[in-house]
């Protein structure tokens, strides 16, 4: 059901001439992809600094609140550019992206990283932070959140990178479960016949 809906949505996006134009553009697609990768440096670079401080492995002599609050703005600028460029990349190749198992894994990981970031944000914005703000090593729950954040974002990079490979594309002969997981609607129908 969900696979069907996603496929229809992707096919609808694919009917737009601008989607095809972007995909087939000589330079534009490459520029958008470059912007997506380069803003990783800004967004994930700043997030890394925050997470390393919250893990208590770097910047231990700087109050955690300073790092968290002051790096929030550049990090969010990087995040916004990354989301916009990512959306454009999806718009350029909607059907293959929707039917990529790696894209699906990436989206799930992004949601998990988002929930984790929300929880860390809540914990580092509360008044309780004052109690450990200057401590070189923050409380365990904060360190767990920071470690999770680093782990999830590394996996997001890995899933994004793997999207370039055709190991489990719908055009390959795969078990039914893989067709279902990747959302290969037509192949699933052929399998059932």
């Amino acid at each position: 059901m969900l696979n069907e809906l996603l496929f229809r949505f992707a096919s609808w996006l694919d009917t737009f001439q601008s989607s095809t134009d972007l995909h087939e553009a000589l330079y534009m697609y490459s520029w958008v992809e470059s912007a997506h990768v380069l803003t990783l440096m800004l967004f994930l670079g700043m997030l890394l600094v925050i997470d390393l401080r919250l893990l208590g492995v770097a910047f231990k002599n700087i109050p955690a609140s300073k790092i968290v609050e002051r790096l929030d703005k550049p990090m969010m600028i990087g995040f916004i550019v990354m989301v916009i460029s990512g959306a454009l990349l999806f718009y350029a190749i909607p059907v293959r992206s929707t039917q990529s198992i790696w894209f699906r894994i990436k989206v799930v990981l992004l949601i998990a990283a988002g929930v984790n970031a929300f929880l860390i944000r809540k914990m580092t914005r509360s008044s309780a932070m004052k109690a450990w703000d200057n401590d070189p090593v923050p409380p365990k729950r904060i360190r767990v959140g920071a470690a999770l954040s680093l782990g999830l974002w590394t996996l997001v990079i890995g899933a994004g990178r793997s999207m370039a490979y055709d190991w489990w594309d719908c055009t390959k002969e795969l078990p039914y479960f893989m067709y279902w997981a990747a959302g290969c609607v037509n192949e699933m129908a052929a399998f059932e016949q």
């Binding site: 490459s30 700043m46 700087i62």
Partner: protein
């Protein structure tokens, strides 16, 4: 100087044989390469933006720079090692790729720059880039002019931006 012989040697090496045989391991190494770039990019950005007074202006710049150093070196080691592995799989393609040579030139320049000029200049950053009243402010005679520090920060950002973009374009060419 003709350097094609080096790429021919790399292409015939055991490393190339291994890197060409497994696309799964290749993807993992690519992920390590990008993750190391994030570490390097993040730490360089933090240091340079601090010197430009864009981020953490109320934290002594020496503290920021000192904290980023070991992460920069660690990231460079991983970038070079994973980069050699990646290059071995497509050595003959890279031998004739101008973006690859641009990236290598930029990378060499960037490494020399951070180990020499950037490091020397940031050690002598003036009071302006320290918080007001900080005990870490150097005496006037020991410091460099603020515009020199800022010029070094902008130059470093431009060099590494060039390295990252030319690296990305290797894949498109």
């Amino acid at each position: 100087m003709d350097v094609v012989f080096f790429f021919q040697w790399l292409d015939g090496s055991m490393l190339a044989e291994f890197s060409k045989s497994s696309s799964g391991i290749f993807a993992v190494v690519q992920t390590i390469h990008i993750a190391s770039m994030v570490v390097l990019g993040g730490m360089l950005l933090l240091g340079d933006l601090r010197m430009l007074n864009v981020v953490l202006p109320d934290v002594p710049s020496s503290l920021v720079i000192e904290n980023t150093k070991k992460w920069i070196y660690l990231a460079l080691v991983f970038i070079v090692l994973s980069g050699i592995y990646e290059a071995s799989a497509i050595a003959m393609k890279l031998a004739y790729n101008s973006f690859f040579f641009a990236k290598m030139a930029g990378l060499s320049m960037g490494i020399v720059f951070i180990l020499s000029l950037r490091s020397a200049v940031y050690r002598r950053a003036p009071g302006l880039v320290y918080p007001e009243g900080s005990s870490q402010t150097l005496s006037q005679s020991d410091t460099l002019r603020p515009w020199i520090v800022k010029l070094v920060a902008v130059t470093n950002l431009l060099i590494w931006f060039g390295v990252a973009s030319s690296g990305r374009w290797i894949g498109f060419s």
